[in-house]
Structure formats: structure tokens, C-alpha cells
């Protein structure tokens, strides 16, 4: 048996929780040691995940690093880990953001630092478990277990309205995912299996498949979060501490979209096709609506939160366009959103630490006193607006190209979303960083206002990643491609069948035209 690197990745943070729980001593020493231990553990995890990336076979389409241990035999639920091109980057992303979160809360969190770090380590373990698991029950357990630490992170260390926000987060998400539990149990009763890989070619009864798809889809879409139940996200983001927002936007929202790609598409292909048009329309509404709402926000964290919702719906747009470009674009968009919105929340956190307000009107002219910050912030905002040369552009443009092949009108309208995101982003930047210095900014001496070393380091890492992959995207698409080909292999015959049934040669020829247009451009 090979080296069980996935189990080690998942268990190391749990080990960290245990170590943290036995630290003894005076409060100051405990908090210092706790921070060091947590940083050490997360850094080791990050290095391990880089090693994982190094060992990863790029062209192999199946699962790699598989591990399987027996667990609940009543549900055939084995602890089955394995990764492929879809999940490997998410593991790296999670492990990258965790040390950044811990560094970001180094000075910010003053009380009860030890349970705070324990929550984060537990969260990391569960998120990695979700990305690695190849079993529905295990997936569900890890998916749900992320809620408990998040509840505490927002509830204990959040801002003034934190209790409302944490309850809303927990109950909305739980409400969605209990239906997923029922769907999973029904899948098990029908097939006698809960393993992703074994379930992929099951021939479902059409109505049942649609119901099961809906069960899963409700859970995932509330997590993404779906319009009109998206309201938990802005409140959660505004009330969470900086690191909580970073991890929420960077990783937790991805769980929903990841679940759609991992479970909904391969397990229920016919139902996915059946519902795809509805979902695409829903995504379009969500993109335009949330972008418009983001324009009028007075609270900058809320603005970023709404923009984050809008960007996540580009992902579903890409997924349910069922084109290879759309799917790989969706994955890249998820990664880019993970990097960029995490960076934006870090920026907001830096501002909040200095001025203790999230209202945009209290800011102005930051460029004068915080030039370094302003440049990093601008790069991230432009990335979020989809400026060519950043990761954000890459994701959105691929999604739009992919969508264009099936829904040209939708693609056109969703491109409006990009324009809106540029407008609220740049407007935010103008109000925050340009113009005359506001009272609150002028009050604090400029020597104390500029970003500290650790903050600069955090932001720079994210900015560099965003720009690097924005320019050189081959490694991203290269890893995702085998997976995308596999999914395409599931859907292509079905589409051909559909076209044959409709006897509409025109669509096929139209598609060819579009393809040639894209190839020429």
C-alpha cells in the first residue's frame, strides 16, 4: 500500500486540535504557543499538499491516491478517499488559505484564541475530507460538519450582530442539506451503494432521478448560495471575523459547486440535463440581481459578499451549460474566486482593523497614506472585475464562451454581469482610495496606517497567484482536462440522442459555426 497522504492531510489538523487542547500555562504563553502550533500544522499541511500536486499524474483521468477503510457497513459507507483533477487544486487552495487565515488573525483575535484556532483546524480537516471523499455518506458528514466550527467562528468572534448571522448561516444550510441526506439514503436503498465511482452508471427511473437531483441540488445551491435564499451569506460575511470571511468565501462556498460537479452531473446526468435550462436562468437572474444589489451597498463587506454571490453563479452557469469550456471555466472560476475574494476580504479586514467601520462613506483618499495597500487592493478588485491578465478574467471568459455555445442570449446577458462587477468594483475603489482624505483616515498618523509585513505578505501571495495563473493558465486547464473529458463523455451521447430526437440539424450546424468563430478569434 502506498503512503496514505490524504489521510495524513485530513488527520493532521485533528491532531493539531488535540495538541492545542493540551497546552497548559499562563494565558499569554498559551495563546502564543497555540498560534505557533496552528501555524506550524497548517504550513506542514500546505507543504504536504504541494507534494501531493507534485506527485499527481496529470493525464490520468481516474482517481489517484485512493484509500479505503471500512466504516458503517449498514449504509455501505466506507471511508473512501481519492482525488482527481477536479479536487486536487481545491485541496491546495484550502491548505493555502488556512495559514493565511491564521496569520491574518494573529493580532486581530484577542480573546479565546485557543478555541478559535481549534475551530479553524477542525474546519480545515472537514473541508479537506469533503474534497477527498468518494462516498456519499462520508461526503455528507464532512459537508455538514463544516457548519459547526463556522457557527462558532461567527458566533463567538464575530461583529455586533453575530448571533443572528451565525444562526441564519447554520439553519439555512442545514435546511438544505437534510434533503440531501434523504436523497442519499434513497440512493442507497435503490442501489445498495453509496460510492461515487460505483454509482456513476446506474440506470435511474426518470422521475426518481429528478427528485434525487433536486434533493442534492437544494443542498448545494443553498450553500453557493442560491437566489432567493442567498441572504444568509451577506449577513454571515459582514458579521464574521476577517479570517472567517476569507475561509467562507474562499473555500466553503466552493463546497456547493464542487458537490454539483462531483455528484449531480455524473450521478444524475439525465436530470441535470432536464433542469439545466432552469438552473441557467436562475444563475442569470442571480448574477444580474446580486451585481445590481452590490452596486447600492453602503457597507463594503456586504458589497464584496454580494459580488461573491454573483461570481459563484458564473460557476453554475458554466457547469450547466454542459460544454467542456463551460465546465473547465467553472472550475477555474471557482479557484479564481477562492483566491480573489479571499484577498478582498483580507483587504476589508485590514481596513476594519484600522478604522473600525465598514461604512464606505467614512473612507476616502486612502491612496495617499496606504499606497502599497491600495495597489494590492486594486489588483484584486480588477481581478474580480475580470481584467485580462488576472485569474478572474480566465474563469469568466471561459464560462461565457462555454455558455455561448448553448445559450447565446444568456451568455450575452451574463457578460453584462462582468460589466456590472467592474462598475461596482471600480466605484468602490474610487470611494475608498481616491479623492480627498476623509476625517477618519486623516485622524490616524500615516506611519501607523500602512499595511504591516504579515498583511503585505498575505495579500502579495494572493495577488501573485492571481496574476501568475492569469498569464500562464496551462497548469490549471491541464489538470482539469482529463476530468472534463470524462464528464463530456457522459453527456455527449445524451446530447446527440436529444438532437436526433428533435431532428434538428440546424442546431448542430449552428454549433459548428460557433465553434469555428471561437477557433478563429
Amino acid at each position: 500500500m502506498h503512503f496514505p497522504i490524504l489521510s495524513i492531510l485530513i488527520l493532521l489538523p485533528i491532531f493539531g486540535v488535540l495538541v492545542l487542547s493540551i497546552i497548559r500555562g499562563q494565558d499569554e504563553i498559551v495563546s502564543r504557543n497555540a498560534k505557533n502550533v496552528a501555524l506550524l500544522i497548517t504550513t506542514i499541511n500546505f507543504i504536504l499538499s504541494l507534494y501531493l500536486l507534485y506527485q499527481f499524474e496529470y493525464h490520468y483521468p481516474g482517481m489517484q491516491f485512493e484509500e479505503i477503510y471500512p466504516w458503517i457497513s449498514t449504509f455501505e459507507a466506507n471511508i473512501h478517499f481519492g482525488i482527481d483533477g477536479l479536487s486536487v487544486y481545491f485541496i491546495v487552495l484550502t491548505n493555502l488559505l488556512m495559514p493565511i487565515c491564521i496569520v491574518a488573525s494573529w493580532k486581530q483575535i484577542k480573546n479565546r484564541i485557543r478555541p478559535y484556532l481549534m475551530c479553524f483546524l477542525f474546519l480545515q480537516s472537514m473541508v479537506l475530507g469533503t474534497f477527498c471523499s468518494l462516498n456519499l455518506i462520508l461526503f455528507y458528514i464532512c459537508f455538514e460538519a463544516t457548519l459547526i466550527p463556522m457557527f462558532f467562528i461567527i458566533g463567538i468572534w464575530g461583529a455586533e450582530d453575530r448571533i443572528y448571522a451565525s444562526f441564519k448561516l447554520f439553519l439555512y444550510t442545514l435546511f438544505g442539506s437534510v434533503f440531501m441526506l434523504l436523497a442519499i439514503l434513497k440512493v442507497f436503498i435503490e442501489t445498495g451503494e453509496t460510492d461515487f465511482l460505483l454509482l456513476q452508471n446506474y440506470d435511474w427511473n426518470l422521475n426518481l432521478e429528478r427528485l434525487l437531483f433536486l434533493g442534492f441540488f437544494i443542498a448545494f445551491s443553498i450553500k453557493i448560495p442560491m437566489w432567493p435564499v442567498h441572504t444568509w451569506l451577506p449577513t454571515a460575511h459582514t458579521q464574521a471575523p476577517t479570517a472567517g470571511s476569507v475561509i467562507l468565501a474562499g473555500v466553503l462556498l466552493k463546497l456547493g459547486a464542487y458537490g454539483m460537479i462531483r455528484i449531480c452531473l455524473p450521478l444524475f446526468p439525465n436530470a441535470s440535463m432536464f433542469f439545466s435550462e432552469h438552473i441557467v436562468i436562475l444563475s442569470l437572474i442571480a448574477i444580474l440581481y446580486t451585481s445590481t444589489v452590490a452596486l447600492v451597498q453602503k457597507d463594503m463587506k456586504k458589497l464584496i459578499a454580494y459580488s461573491s454571490v454573483a461570481h459563484m453563479w458564473f460557476v453554475t452557469l458554466g457547469i450547466f451549460s454542459f460544454t467542456p469550456q463551460g465546465l473547465s471555466g467553472a472550475v477555474v472560476q471557482m479557484l479564481s474566486h477562492g483566491i480573489i475574494s479571499a484577498g478582498l476580504f483580507l483587504c476589508i479586514g485590514i481596513l476594519y482593523d484600522r478604522f473600525h467601520t465598514r461604512k464606505i462613506k467614512h473612507y476616502g483618499g486612502l491612496f495617499k497614506s496606504m499606497p502599497q495597500f491600495s495597489i494590492l487592493f486594486l489588483t484584486l478588485l480588477l481581478g474580480s472585475a475580470g481584467l485580462p491578465g488576472t485569474l478572474g478574467f480566465l474563469g469568466e471568459i471561459t464560462v461565457i464562451i462555454g455558455t455561448f455555445r448553448r445559450f447565446p442570449n444568456v451568455a450575452f446577458l451574463s457578460a453584462m454581469g462582468m460589466i456590472l462587477s467592474a462598475s461596482y468594483g471600480l466605484w468602490l475603489y474610487r470611494r475608498l482610495c481616491l479623492g480627498t482624505e476623509s476625517e477618519a483616515v486623516a485622524k490616524i498618523a500615516s506611519s501607523r496606517i500602512e499595511v504591516t509585513k504579515s498583511e503585505r505578505f498575505n495579500l502579495s501571495v494572493l495577488v501573485i497567484i492571481s496574476v501568475f495563473f492569469g498569464v500562464y493558465a496551462q497548469p490549471l486547464f491541464g489538470i482539469i482536462n482529463p476530468f472534463v473529458k470524462k464528464i463530456e463523455g457522459i453527456f455527449k451521447p445524451r446530447f446527440m440522442k436529444q438532437f436526433e430526437n428533435q431532428n434538428s440539424v440546424s442546431i448542430v450546424s449552428e454549433q459548428k459555426d460557433v465553434k469555428s468563430v471561437i477557433n478563429n478569434s
Binding site: 471500512p70 466504516w71 458503517i72 457497513s73 449498514t74 449504509f75 472537514m126 455518506i137 455528507y140 458528514i141 464532512c142 455538514e144 460538519a145 457548519l147 459547526i148 457557527f151 462558532f152 458566533g155 463567538i156 453575530r162 448571533i163 451565525s166 444562526f167 447554520f170 439553519l171 442545514l174 435546511f175 437534510v178 434533503f179 441526506l181 434523504l182 439514503l185 434513497k186 442507497f188 436503498i189
Partner: protein, 487 residues
């Protein structure tokens, strides 16, 4: 078959228990000064010895007293669980009742009497023995409820418990008299055979159905299922913490065991009657328990309502009348017992430390005072709420699985939605414990070490965490027991 001297072997554990109780009573009466201390130590030890006797019994040999007493797999597993739980409760009450002004030697004796009653209840296959054991348990519990004479709410709770209990006993007897009237026998097997003959010959079954309904209602009273749950919150609130722990946990388990045995071995042919009946009570319990608990501020009342809700889940499993359903409800009951004792033990520890925890607000700031304990409390609550990754979730999923197997989709959806609502109030409790800032500044806590309670809490919590990693073992036990019971 009928010999003059019955074979006592299958009932040895109960007989041993009876003699230990007599011994304890003797000690209690004779040595007045130190009797309490001796009893406190002797009672859990003797219960453990009973457990040992039970484990040593040969398994091939299960009927006695001309077939009216049984010690099969179901009884065996249930009794082990029951005795272990009662040992824990005895140890807890030993270390706490000194601080509750309860220096009365009858407490351990009565708890043992209740235990004896519960053991007999689990083993009975005769309506007379079932009735006697039910009464033995109930009477001991009535006395225990009101044992603190100087505490007015306790007397109130005792009266309420007694009246409701007596009412439910009447229902029970009334139902039993129907069954006896039809069949002319008190033995479970005979009644079962006669009733199926009744069905086979297509005779009038109205009386039998009436009997089943009355008996079910009486059991619902005892289990605290809605709509017969109104006595629960008052009784919980009025009693002392140790007694509440007892009332809330093991008797419910024993009554559940008796009820399951009654349903599956006496009236299995009438399942077309009792399945919808039990399902209705289960759904009502889910709804009323959940909605009732939402508004509670007192922890004991809250736990009472949440108990109703959990019993609803247990009954959902029972109402399926399948192996999976019975096994699921048994496993759920086990998890419920484990976490509930853990939660009560944490409350007792806080009590011992000098914090009188009555309402949610009293919990504020506890996480700073005793962090380890609040962690344990947290684990208990999260597991009780059935949130992953703790084993409460596995139990809940098992019940839902049993429901879906029988294609009760709407009920399953109702169950999960009520779980979501229930989670809201469990989170409320966690909020008071961990999130809310300290409001009252406590005076210096009493310097009680409380290592016993700590040890118990830690072992309970580690069992809970152990089940996460070895769910197979426990679920297999539940499954085998259910198969044994049904076939």
C-alpha cells in the same frame, strides 16, 4: 413441564438484585450514623455485581416460571445497558446529593428498586409480571420525585407524576383486561396465538383493538410522547437533578423495551392497527416536542420537550415494524441515553462547583469557568441534535433509512424538517453556553474536586467519540437484537 420448583437460573440477576436491596435496607435501618456513606458505595458496587451475574448466566436457557419470564438476547442486551446506565446514575447521585440536602438512605435503595422493576419489565412475558414490574418502577419513582419534603416544587411534581402515572396505569390495566377477557390467558404467547386465531377466523376484533389502543395510550403516557407529554416538563423541573437524571433516562428505556416486546410478540398480527397509531403519536411528538422546546428558558423543561421530540424519533422507528426500524430505534434510544446522561452529569458537575444552573441564562460564562466541561456539554448537545459528525447523526440517519425503506417519504421529510427546527433550540443552548458574555459575576466557586463526575463525563464523551469511529459494532448489536426479537 410444570414442576413444583421453578428453574431460577434465568432470573438469577434479578434475585441477586433483590437480595442486595434487602441487605442495603438492613444496613440503612441499623447503622444510622454511617449508613448513608456505606450505602452510597455499596449500591453501585452491588449493581455492578448484578451486571456480572447477568454476564455469567448461560445463554442457552431462557424461559422460567412456566414461561412467564424470559431472558433472551433482547433482554440480555437491554439489561446490560440498563445496569450500566444505572451504575452511572447511582455514582452520580452519590457524589451530588450531599450538596442537594438529600441525606436520605432511601435514595439508593429506591433507585435499586426501580432498577429491579425495570429489569423485570424487560424480561416479562406475562401481563401480570409486566404490570407488577411497571408498578414497582413507577412507585419507586413517585417516591423519589417527592423525596425532598421541604422543597415545595418537589411535592408538586410528585403529586403530578403520581396522578398522571396512576391514570396511565388505569389505562394499562383496562387494556390488559380486554386482552385477558378475549383470550382468557395472561401469557404473552397464548394471547398472541389466540388473537391470531381470532383474525384467522374473521371473528369480531373490536375488543382486541380497543385493548391495544388503551395499552398504547398508557405506554405513550409513560414514555412522555405527545399528546400525553404535559406531565414531563413539570416533573423534570420540580425534582432534584439526580432524580431527574433517573426519571429521564433508564425508565424510558425499559418501558420502551417492554412496549417493543409487547408490540412484536403479543400483537404482531394487529400491526395494521398499531402501526398507524404509533406513527401518529410519533409525528405528534415530533411536532409538539419541537414547538414546545422552542420557547423554553429552563434547561430541565427544555430537556423534557426535547425528550418528547426524541421519543418521537424512536417511535418512528418502532412504527415501521421491520428489523431496520426496531434496530434503528434501539440504537437511537441508546445514543439518546448516553448523551442525555452526559448532559445531566455536566449539569451536576456545575452544581457541585456551586453554580445553580436553572435557566439558559445561568449557563452564561460557564465556558470560562469550566472549559473542559462545557466542551463535553457541547459534544452532548451536538450529538443529541443529531448533527454530523457525531454519532447522534448516525442514529438519526438510521431511523430515516428505516422510514425510507418503508416508503414513508412525507414522514421522513417531516422528521428532517423538525430536526432543523430542533437544531435551532439546541444551538440556542450552545449560544448561552459559549457565545453570550458573562453577565453575573460568580462568587468564588466551592472548592469541590468532583473527580468522579469528571471521570464519568469523560468516559461518556469518549464513548460518544468512540462510536464515531466504530459505528459498525454498535449497529450490529442493535441489528442482531432486533432480528432475535422479531423472529
Amino acid at each position: 413441564m410444570l414442576s413444583t420448583i421453578p428453574d431460577f437460573l434465568p432470573a438469577t440477576a434479578e434475585i441477586f438484585m433483590l437480595f442486595s436491596i434487602l441487605l442495603l435496607m438492613l444496613i440503612g435501618v441499623c447503622k444510622l450514623n454511617k449508613s448513608l456513606d456505606i450505602l452510597d458505595y455499596l449500591a453501585p458496587c452491588l449493581t455492578l455485581c448484578t451486571l456480572g451475574v447477568l454476564l455469567l448466566l448461560p445463554q442457552n436457557h431462557i424461559y422460567t416460571f412456566s414461561g412467564s419470564y424470559i431472558n433472551d438476547q433482547f433482554a440480555f442486551v437491554s439489561k446490560i445497558l440498563l445496569l450500566l446506565a444505572n451504575v452511572i446514575i447511582l455514582v452520580l447521585s452519590k457524589s451530588v446529593h450531599k450538596y442537594e440536602n438529600l441525606k436520605i438512605f432511601e435514595i439508593p435503595v429506591l433507585i435499586l428498586f426501580a432498577t429491579l422493576g425495570m429489569m423485570m419489565m424487560i424480561s416479562s412475558t406475562d401481563i401480570i409480571i409486566a404490570f407488577i414490574s411497571l408498578e414497582l418502577t413507577s412507585l419507586s419513582l413517585y417516591i423519589l420525585t417527592a423525596i425532598d419534603r421541604n422543597f415545595k416544587p418537589a411535592s408538586e411534581a410528585g403529586i403530578k407524576y403520581f396522578i398522571y402515572g396512576a391514570l396511565s396505569t388505569t389505562f394499562f390495566l383496562f387494556g390488559l383486561s380486554f386482552l385477558y377477557g378475549i383470550t382468557g390467558s395472561t401469557h404473552f404467547d397464548h394471547i398472541s396465538n389466540d388473537l391470531s386465531a381470532l383474525l384467522l377466523n374473521k371473528e369480531d376484533t373490536t375488543l382486541a383493538i380497543m385493548g391495544i389502543i388503551f395499552i398504547t395510550v398508557s405506554f405513550m403516557f409513560k414514555l412522555g410522547a405527545a399528546p400525553f407529554h404535559y406531565w414531563l416538563p413539570d416533573v423534570y423541573q420540580g425534582t432534584k437533578l439526580t432524580i431527574t437524571t433517573l426519571i429521564a433516562t433508564t425508565p424510558k428505556f425499559a418501558i420502551f423495551a417492554l412496549y417493543v416486546r409487547f408490540l412484536t410478540q403479543v400483537v404482531p398480527d394487529f400491526s395494521y392497527i398499531w402501526k398507524p397509531l404509533v406513527l401518529t403519536f410519533a409525528i405528534l411528538s415530533l411536532l409538539l416536542g419541537t414547538l414546545g422546546a422552542l420557547q423554553q428558558k429552563n434547561i430541565k423543561r427544555f430537556l423534557a420537550y426535547s425528550g418528547t421530540m426524541n421519543i418521537g424519533f424512536v417511535l418512528l422507528g418502532v412504527a415501521q415494524f421491520t428489523t431496520a426500524g426496531i434496530a434503528a430505534s434501539g440504537f437511537y434510544m441508546f445514543m439518546y441515553l448516553l448523551t442525555l446522561i452526559g448532559i445531566f452529569a455536566s449539569l451536576m458537575y456545575m452544581k457541585k462547583k456551586g453554580f445553580n444552573i436553572q435557566t439558559f441564562d445561568d449557563l452564561k460564562g460557564m465556558s470560562e469557568q469550566c472549559p473542559v466541561l462545557s466542551f463535553a456539554f457541547c459534544i452532548g448537545i451536538i450529538s443529541l441534535a443529531g448533527l454530523p459528525p457525531l454519532p447522534g447523526f448516525i442514529a438519526k440517519a438510521y431511523v430515516l433509512y428505516a422510514l425510507l425503506l418503508e416508503e414513508h417519504y412525507l414522514v421522513a421529510i417531516l422528521g428532517v424538517v423538525s430536526t432543523v427546527v430542533a437544531t435551532a433550540y439546541y444551538l440556542n443552548l450552545l449560544k448561552s453556553l459559549l457565545i453570550d458574555a458573562v453577565q453575573t459575576v460568580y462568587t468564588q466557586a466551592a472548592k469541590q474536586t468532583g473527580y468522579t463526575i469528571k471521570l464519568i463525563i469523560m468516559s461518556l464523551i469518549s464513548t460518544v467519540l468512540l462510536i464515531v469511529f466504530t459505528p459498525n459494532v454498535w449497529m450490529k448489536i442493535a441489528n442482531i437484537t432486533a432480528i432475535d426479537l422479531l423472529h
